[in-house]
Symmetry: C2
Subunit: 190 residues, 2 copies
DNA sequence: ACAGGAACGCTAGCGGTGCTAGGATTGCTG
DNA sequence: CAGCAATCCTAGCACCGCTAGCGTTCCTGT
């Protein structure tokens, strides 16, 4: 019994090491630098070991994304909680969202632009993703009729996502970011 | 003189054939299916010929994107021109934008999510991209102070882009798309 | 204590990618 | 018609994600 438990624990630790290595490598050098060979070297095991934990590289990226959902949700919760009033809450949550995306671009990509089909119908993501989404909904709720809440929340979210991605790919000048964010916030907090 | 002119013309035709093949293949099977080998087979030349026309695969994708900018601009111009009033123009232009992205997802990706750094500081793209952007600006102009026009246009564009990309990657339910688009239009036309 | 067996992780390799060096062939030019 | 220059192809490089198959190690039941 005990040895089995130890093995299971070691296995779980190694799995976590894989995800952590992928995350660190992606943050430092982008997802292109995250190859199965480099990942294997990083955790000091051979390549095939990765495939005993994950179905493939996509699944590893998905695991990194799952961690990201939890982080993002926490950031949004904290931003809203410390806002003095509802209008400022919209601004602060928007700023927190953008800050998350800009400080961890690789993780944001794994969450929202790459790794499409993986864990969106599973048990893990919905929890943290729903937490983040619910936080956005509560933020805009004071400014919207109840029956429109979901659509407005999703549209607000899309605006943030669009600002982040277009700016990151060079389609929008970084210098004007604050003005654009102010426009978006204004349009969703009145 | 004449032979040289013919050669130059044939070369231009072959270059166009490469771009067309890339475009068709991407539309039919996605960019993953567009490999240099398949592209070469499609135009009935060997691989290295591609590199005598383009620096690499990215440059070919960029050429496809350039064509896309022209198409999108035309679609937006036509949508605004046939709108009965300014408010409806916002709705129609938004619908046309989304329709373009949904009908040519691969080309939209080449324009806005992949192929980051290529021709954004060249002579070709700015023309058609600016045409599309100007059309968006004229569409929202009736509803905004002049000194905010650029920021509002960019933010409106970001909203459209966010809706498109999040829906396409499965983060937003397709069924509620019309409601979300109506929210966005409403927020930018009053 | 020991034989048997299962779990484990490695080496090696497959088919594919983008890209390039080098030589052969072609076709124009003087 | 000789020579040259442009053109295009064959072959191959280094890398990718992924997997088959084999040794070794370690746990298990007698």
């Amino acid at each position: 019994m005990s040895t089995q438990a130890r093995r299971q624990r070691e296995r779980a630790e190694r799995e976590q090491a894989i995800v952590a290595a992928a995350r660190d490598l992606a943050l430092a050098e982008g997802w292109d630098a995250v190859t199965t060979r480099r990942l294997a070297a990083e955790i000091e095991y051979s390549q095939p070991v990765l495939y005993s934990h994950f179905k493939g590289k996509d699944a590893i990226m998905a695991a990194v994304a799952v961690e990201g959902f939890a982080e993002l949700a926490t950031a949004l919760v904290s931003a809203r909680a410390s806002a003095p009033d509802p209008r400022q809450a919209v601004a602060d949550v928007a700023t927190a969202y953008v800050a998350f995306a800009q400080q961890r671009p690789a993780i944001y990509d794994a969450m929202f632009t790459l790794a499409v089909d993986l864990p969106f119908a599973s048990q893990d993501v919905p929890t943290d993703l729903a937490r983040g989404f619910a936080e956005l909904a509560e933020t805009v709720r004071p400014f919207v009729d109840n029956d429109d809440l979901e659509a407005v929340t999703e549209t607000f979210w899309s605006g943030l996502h669009g600002l982040v991605t277009l700016m990151r790919s060079g389609r929008l000048r970084r210098a004007d970011h604050d003005r654009r964010l102010a426009v978006l916030v204004d349009r969703f907090s009145r």
